[in-house]
């Protein structure tokens, strides 16, 4: 399979700079561990954030910190797409008989992010062991869907920025606000912020869908009917659809205008 070959190539590339890859991986994991400690110490001072306790927040943090580095590792090609446009690499991809998305996926895989995924998984496990959740089959599904939703969300943001960079060539810094902003925000339950922020990050950028909404279902709390909480991750995943549509449209435009 072609993707396997791409993986192998990237592994080989990073082995050329073994020490560097390991150092970057370790230091990035340490940053994540630092953020985790910050969360812990904050809860030493303020026992709860709104209705949410430490382990609830830890689970949200865990979901975020598992999903985001996965996207950074395997879907980095979209994030770096502006460089492909800038240096004419896109033309090179277009003269090959393989789907362009496949080639973008293959264009960059960053293994140094893997370490952070482990930190995210460990945080999730600690949280799940300490939370009083009576697991049902549906709850397990919703939990898995939350991880997938987070992956889809950040993938969507990357794809969106890739689509925009077709026109601007330079990567737009304001898009980092979306990526990093939502990442920072999602560290805490979104519903502790003012109403319009909560709404914005539910319906426009569906950060809440892998944040407090599915958690409400898992914890059997909240005022809305529980099925709404349960399907929220599915709603969040849909975010990626218009992003991909926009990207494909931009690509068509590129072929039309050759910007």
């Amino acid at each position: 399979m072609l993707y396997k070959k791409y993986l192998k190539m990237h592994l080989k590339s990073s082995f050329e700079y073994r020490l560097n890859t390991i150092f970057v991986g370790v230091s990035q994991s340490l940053i994540t561990v630092g953020e985790l400690l910050a969360l812990y110490f904050m809860f030493q001072t303020f026992e709860s954030v709104g209705p949410w306790g430490f382990y609830e927040c830890l689970l949200m943090f865990g979901i975020l910190m598992t999903a985001y580095p996965i996207v950074e590792c395997f879907f980095r090609g979209y994030d770096n797409f502006s460089l492909l446009v800038k240096f004419g690499e896109l033309d090179r991809l277009l003269v090959r008989p393989v789907n362009i998305h496949y080639q973008i996926l293959g264009s960059k895989i960053e293994f140094s992010k893997i370490g952070r995924v482990f930190v995210g998984i460990i945080a999730s496990v600690i949280a799940l062991l300490n939370l009083n959740i009576t697991f049902t089959f549906a709850k397990i599904l919703v939990l898995i869907a939350s991880y997938l939703c987070a992956i889809c969300f950040f993938l969507g943001v990357f794809v969106l920025s890739a689509g925009i960079s077709v026109f601007t060539i330079e990567k737009m810094e304001f898009l980092n606000i979306i990526t990093n902003g939502s990442k920072e925000l999602a560290n805490y339950p979104i519903n502790i912020y003012t109403k319009w922020i909560t709404r914005f990050f539910t319906f426009v950028l569906p950060v809440a869908c892998f944040n407090y909404l599915p958690l409400s279902y898992l914890m059997d709390v909240g005022n809305l009917p529980s099925w709404l909480y349960a399907i929220s991750p599915i709603f969040g995943m849909l975010f990626a659809v218009p992003c991909f549509a926009f990207f494909n449209l931009s690509l068509k435009k590129y072929q039309g205008t050759g910007t």
Partner: protein, 329 residues
Amino acid sequence: MSNIIEFNNINKEFKIFLRDKGLWGAIKGLFKRKHKLIKALNNVCFEIQEGDIVGYIGPNGAGKSTTIKIMSGILTPTSGQCKINGYIPWKDRKKYVKSIGVVFGQRSQLWWDVPVRDSFELLKDIYNIPTEEYQKTLDILIDILKIGELLDRPLRQLSLGQKMKCELAGALLHKPKILFLDEPTIGLDAVTKLAVRDFVKYINKEWKTTVILTTHDMTDIDALTNKVILIGKGKILYNGSFEYLKNKYANEKTITVEFLKEYDKIEVEGYNVVSHDKNVAVLKNFPQTIFNTQKFLQTITQKYEIVDFSVNTISVDEVLAKLYKEFNL
């Protein structure tokens, strides 16, 4: 021979946005954008036959790369028809590109940090080449390009010429019917340049590959092509053999004459005195004068005593410079 490439009235317009000068202009540009239409290609028509080696020439910005991009399916033209190898490049892109190979002289398709062989293996998967066929083609390519010992080294350790050889091999692994070369010899030393040329000739002869190359190196054109297409300001200006162009312009000779003594003034009928310093003069024939050694010597020795003389025909580079000048490029 049948036409493998047909370009029929291809037009390509680009919209470019104009911005006023300075900071204020940049701010104004955020709200109100003026734009200008640029005609990159203007009713471009040409045909290329199977097995041709075509030189696609023209000054920078003439529309060469736009044409190449349309031919390789990257860009969609604004209007016009184009059929290559039975496909419309931008419509049947994925099927079409299997039959072409593209080498962008300044950009690599091989991986920087891994051995060249691995990059080739990736291309094998991308083009879905059966293992046996791949091995056979690779053996031939290694043999003609002499890249056997380069394959196990990462690309970053190779010299420019070695890289270009590997690049060529990479573009031909799937045995394309048409090969686009965008400035393949740029920056190469003389030996490598010759090797690249021999290679292009070889695949053209043995594999019947049609080759379209853009270059600013006229010796490439002279050595390789049987046809040139000259483009300027988006229009095709000439389409035919390079020999014809050469003969047309090579009529001009530059003659350097050394005289026995210093003459005050030198005048030769039918010739223009370009420079005259002490006992050496440089002459050029008028366009209507056809240079003939015997006649020239007779004319000049009637009036002056000469020691030595030499005749220079203009170089291929000068042919092109004259051509560009003639078309106001």
